[in-house]
Symmetry: C2
């Protein structure tokens, strides 16, 4: 029951260190180690990895692009990103692309091992800061200037509904919907739907 592992990392030293380290475990088997996504993709179906350790900053295609394509061609692969990047955009791009875990490169060797174990057990290993970023992305603004009715209506605006449609779903008149939207626009200092939705997302109002 050796778990098949593929490594994609352009730094030769790191690549070889990972390979040696992981092969020490008899339930792990590094089937291939590549220096770029293009080469890895040529063999991804034959390699049939359960787990891919993926760098982001690679020559040619980025690890995020590579993640998308691997998940398309081999959806069962669990991809763990290992990178120096810990800014929000990169993290969320990687997760959207289909990454299962996200470790920063300061993680020690034990953490790498335990991350793979976690993935096998159905988890999603992340470095502390990354996990906090991810969790914070769900949190709503606790000091919204909007009333609950206004928030409710703004949510539906963000779903693309028309005033008429909103009125029908929350059982008030269209005129009342307009009344609330006018107040929302005043409070958010905007004067159209798009800007209101933008503010709502920026300020986590919905």
């Amino acid at each position: 029951m050796g778990n098949r592992i593929v490594i994609i990392e352009d730094n030769k030293d790191i690549r070889e260190a990972f390979t040696l380290l992981l092969n020490l475990r008899d339930d792990f088997s590094v089937v291939n180690a590549y220096s770029n996504c293009e080469d890895a993709l040529k063999n991804i179906e034959e390699d049939a990895p359960h787990i891919v350790l993926m760098d982001i900053d690679l020559p040619g295609m980025s690890g995020i692009e590579g993640t998308k394509i691997i998940k398309k061609n081999l959806p069962s692969a669990n991809i763990i990103i290992i990178t120096v990047f810990e800014n929000g955009k990169t993290v969320f791009d990687a997760l959207c692309a289909g990454a299962t875990g996200y470790l920063t490169k300061n993680s020690d060797r034990d953490r790498l091992m335990s991350a793979i174990d976690e993935v096998i057990k159905g988890g999603a290993p992340m470095s502390s800061k990354i996990a906090r970023l991810v969790v914070q992305s769900f949190q709503k603004n606790m000091n919204s200037p909007l009333t609950s009715r206004e928030t409710e209506i703004l949510s539906q605006i963000a779903e693309g509904k028309s005033y008429t449609n909103i009125a029908d779903t929350i059982f008030i008149s269209k005129e009342t919907v307009k009344y609330h939207i006018k107040n929302i626009y005043i409070k958010l200092q905007v004067n159209n739907k798009a800007d209101a939705i933008k503010r709502a997302n920026e300020d986590r109002l919905i």
Copy 2:
């Protein structure tokens, strides 16, 4: 430097077991343990906890409602949910309410300790299944019927932009935007914005 901890858990045995266990550590100090949110909220500012261990299924106000109010009154508090629920809705409601961590009740005592350590270090401890749920919530559909241009335009529709606005931001004519939207509607089998956005969210197209 004792980290102030408050426990909110209606089961007396668990509440007392947690209290005893945590007080074994000299860097932890359980300042109070309550059986419901209402009582806890009366003293939350004097208790001034760094960390709150919170059950969800409580008499009176739920732990999720309680989390919202605590985060409103004491935003610096880090709330760790400890519960039997591991369904998606409950998890996301808790995170939206402001929870920093989420453990299921089958977690062992060491996990409880390490979770608190993680929170103090700036992390967001989650049980394996929960972390996977959270990470999966970001993943896009790899088999979208839409072309990349269509996806791009649908995203902007979902941001509440008008055709004109979209046309200007991606430097194509308004007529071309209309052309793409017609095709999007055909592919998604809808005939208006709201339904398209709904389908896009259901099928994780954007």
